[in-house]
């Protein structure tokens, strides 16, 4: 109310409470009273009722049981007449001034009261809405923060899953590595064993070739002195050689006329029989 008087010079009929003053008032009573006043109770909507602007309603309520509705008015009239007749209230120039001022004041209040009240109400409403905005903003931001926090907690729950996946990855890598090394070992061992096998094969082949050559040489050298008694069309001994030799053992010979065939058995892979043919003339 007092701040409204600051806002508007003239009086008003209906106005809103002054927030600044009431905040001070609330804080003062906060410090002095023993009860705790938080949260501060809301302001009452209307003030105490006052009749004709200057007489509180309590007087009328006080006198109503005994004198009815007109009691206080009668009291007022009697009091006024008494004051005038005994000249406790003296009628002088000041009375005229007071009457003029009173008339102007009453006229002003009756005419401009509601407008001033609406204006002051709007001002207060703006203040309230601004404060409400701030409060709403704070509320929404805090609610949002709560939501975000909940989301973060939910995310944190997923971390063990992440660790499991990573553990699986690491285990797989280890497994892969282990298997690669197993393969490596196997291959290396196989290579060495293959080498040994090849060496053995080589030995046997060489022995066989040598043996075959020696046998041929002996056969040829044993045949050559008989060349004179052999058939004439054959001028020089001819050797029919079949496919290259890959044998290990020597088999008995077959004689087809002048053709001496001795069978050499190939071991191991392949079952093809290879004949070493010697055409002896």
């Amino acid at each position: 109310m007092l701040s409204r008087l600051v806002l508007v010079s003239g009086p008003a009929f209906k106005s809103s409470g002054s927030f600044g003053a009431c905040v001070v008032q609330a804080s003062r009573s906060l410090h002095s009273s023993p009860q705790s006043l938080a949260p501060v109770p809301p302001l009452p909507e209307k003030g105490g009722k006052v009749r004709h602007g200057i007489i509180p309603e309590e007087l009328f309520q006080l006198l109503y049981p005994k004198t009815g509705v007109t009691g206080p008015y009668m009291l007022g009239t009697g009091l006024l007449l008494y004051l005038l007749s005994k000249e406790i209230y003296v009628v002088n120039h000041e009375t005229f001034a007071a009457a003029s001022i009173g008339a102007v004041v009453v006229y002003g209040v009756k005419k401009f009261g509601p407008q001033v009240a609406a204006f002051a109400d709007k001002l207060n409403q703006d203040k309230v809405s601004k404060a409400q905005e701030v409060k709403d903003l704070a509320m929404t931001s805090l609610a949002q923060a709560v939501e975000d926090e909940k989301k973060e907690q939910w995310r944190a729950e997923g971390r063990p899953m992440l660790f499991d996946a990573k553990r699986n990855n690491v285990a797989m890598l280890l497994e892969i590595n282990h298997r690669e090394r197993l393969h490596l070992v196997t291959n290396e061992v196989k290579k060495r064993l293959d080498y040994q096998i090849e060496v053995q094969n080589l030995h046997r082949r060489m022995e066989q070739e040598h043996m075959v050559n020696w046998v041929e040489k002996n056969v040829v050298s044993s045949i050559t002195p008989q060349q004179a008694s052999a058939s004439l069309p054959c001028s020089s001994p001819g050797f029919l050689l079949s496919t290259p030799v890959r044998q290990m053992e020597l088999f008995p010979t077959f004689r087809f006329g002048d053709l001496y065939l001795y069978l050499l058995w190939p071991p191991g892979r392949g079952s093809a029989l290879v004949f070493r043919a010697v055409y002896i003339c």
């Binding site: 109310m1 007092l2 008087l5 009086p11 008003a12 009929f13 209906k14 106005s15 809103s16 409470g17 002054s18 003053a21 009431c22 008032q25 009573s29 302001l43 009452p44 909507e45 209307k46 003030g47 105490g48 009722k49 006052v50 602007g53 200057i54 509180p56 007749s85 005994k86 000249e87 209230y89 003296v90 009628v91 002088n92 000041e94 007071a98 209040v109 009261g113 009240a117 109400d121």
Partner: protein, 89 residues
């Protein structure tokens, strides 16, 4: 209807019986601090009833002004007496 006996000192003025008035006055605190706190309390009551509301009316301020007018008339009465129209009433 007395639900339980209340000490005289704690009674409010309206609850004090007429015969107990002098003794009740004796229990009141008339130190400067006490007077100041009484003024403070009275002010708080008036303020919270008529002024510290959402939609106050003219009454809150008007009553104060009327009270001021009456008080100043009372203090000036000895001077205003001389403006009387009649000598004998």
């Amino acid at each position: 209807m007395a639900d339980r006996p209340v000490a005289l000192a704690e009674k409010r003025l309206m609850d004090v019986k007429l015969g107990q008035l002098p003794s009740w006055l004796g229990t009141r605190d008339f130190t400067p601090n006490g007077l100041l706190s009484a003024v403070r309390r009275g002010h708080d009551r008036y303020y919270n009833k008529y002024i510290n509301v959402k939609k106050g009316g003219i009454g809150g301020v008007a009553m104060l002004l009327v009270g001021y007018v009456v008080l100043s008339y009372t203090w000036e009465y000895d001077h205003i007496k001389h403006d009387r129209w009649r000598k004998y009433h």
